[in-house]
Subunit: 253 residues, 2 copies
């Protein structure tokens, strides 16, 4: 029988000078994190690295070894700055080869778009031994090699690839979460939060302060894989806040 | 005389379960990257780590050693999940102490806000030997220890801390960038891009495809520390695109 208490982890490498230069605001971390939660997999760590082979190789080898899954985004297009496939093949110690199914996919996609040029054929190159991840939005597929998942950088294409992977990766219990909010400065209730967390094993309480409409407030996110434990922790935290004179807003503010 | 060709680098560690769970979309990577560019410092790598001391320690020690500057965001509030100061002190091998100036700042800030409680005093704790970074938005200051800069996680507070650091860090030539756009599939001009980059030493060309209004296009970002070289590269790339039959939109699409 599967061990339901086993925690499955993933890491993500965001590849791209455009993120490190500040030109592009990353959107893949949050969407991949949310998707992984639903699969029962925790995103444990993220690295953003430049379009530099040595940097990609170092990150791939550090993270694939210590996580169940490793995802990468970015650098799988047809241009000179798209070096992800070559870098990951180098990290894995395998050759790069043209994947026949990927080639067929691209031939079909570009049949009415000017044909499969040499540059476009670059997008059929994979680390030897890979399988493909369906791209439901455009031509070039994603790539899977062992526990490494090589995805697009453009967020809506990444989303389509995640969609095609939904339900195919083994995970554990999904991490459930619930939120409540309060018009209180978190510094007034930090002891209360810490004590409540200690009293509810298996629950983590995160505190996220904000300043809005001229007032100080905070949302509290409780996370657990145990639905009943989560309910008990929310009820207890709410009761303690109310008893302190701070009305609780269910769902957060 | 200073070596103007020296490249100054920074790394960033984003600390927080809320980013890794997908609850919060990070906004600090892009704003710190943009700010660093203006200081003449390149953001070379980013890691997102959970609120776990060992993970923070590993990242701090890996990144501070190989970059001129290391920034962290998140985890410096008053609650039980705010462990950044303790973790960084552990990484640096120093004690945690209450910083008298930080204590005075907090006393002033909370004088009209209910007073400096024990929980709030936590925000005056620093790795021994630190100086402070002014917080222009709220009470708790940021912290500097050697080449490590410990900043808030809330983006507008981080922005105020960056503002107070503007012009105080040694950097090199800022990385200049310019953008042009074209209604072209990047796969049609990938050779052209690669050749143009090769012909302009010191310039990098990034290609950022998009699909909009039912059409395929791409923006090209050219980066260099040399303003004249950048101008020449843009002019050459534009001429090559126009000669290929693709009208260029200055500034990007």
């Amino acid at each position: 029988m599967a061990d339901l208490n086993r925690i499955w982890t993933a890491a993500l490498i965001v590849i791209g000078d455009e993120i490190l230069s500040g030109r592009t605001q990353d959107k893949n971390i949050a969407q991949i994190a949310s998707w992984l939660n639903v699969q029962g997999i925790r995103l444990r760590e993220v690295r953003v690295v430049p379009d530099v082979e040595a940097a990609i190789v170092e990150a791939v080898n550090a993270l694939r070894a210590r996580n169940d899954y490793l995802f990468t985004t970015g650098g799988i297009g047809p241009t000179h700055d798209d070096i992800t496939v070559d870098a990951i093949a180098a990290a894995l110690g395998v050759e790069v080869e043209v994947h026949s199914e990927a080639r067929a996919v691209l031939e079909g996609y570009y049949a009415t778009r000017g044909g499969l040029t040499e540059a476009r054929l670059r997008m059929a190159r994979v680390p030897a031994g890979s399988s493909l991840i369906e791209n439901r939005m455009s031509g070039a597929p994603g790539i899977r090699h062992g526990n490494v998942f090589i995805m697009a950088g453009v967020p809506h294409i990444t989303a389509g690839m995640l969609d095609s992977l939904t339900g195919t990766l083994e995970g554990g219990l999904p991490l459930l979460s619930a939120q409540i909010g309060c018009w209180v400065a978190e510094s007034e209730i930090s002891d209360l939060l810490g004590r409540t967390e200690k009293d509810h094993e298996g629950c983590q309480i995160g505190s996220y302060p904000f300043f809005r409409e001229g007032r100080t407030g905070a949302n509290f996110v409780i996370r657990s894989t145990d639905a009943e434990g989560l309910e008990r922790c929310i009820a207890d935290l709410s009761a303690r806040l109310e008893a302190g004179g701070w009305p609780v807003v269910a769902g957060g503010i």
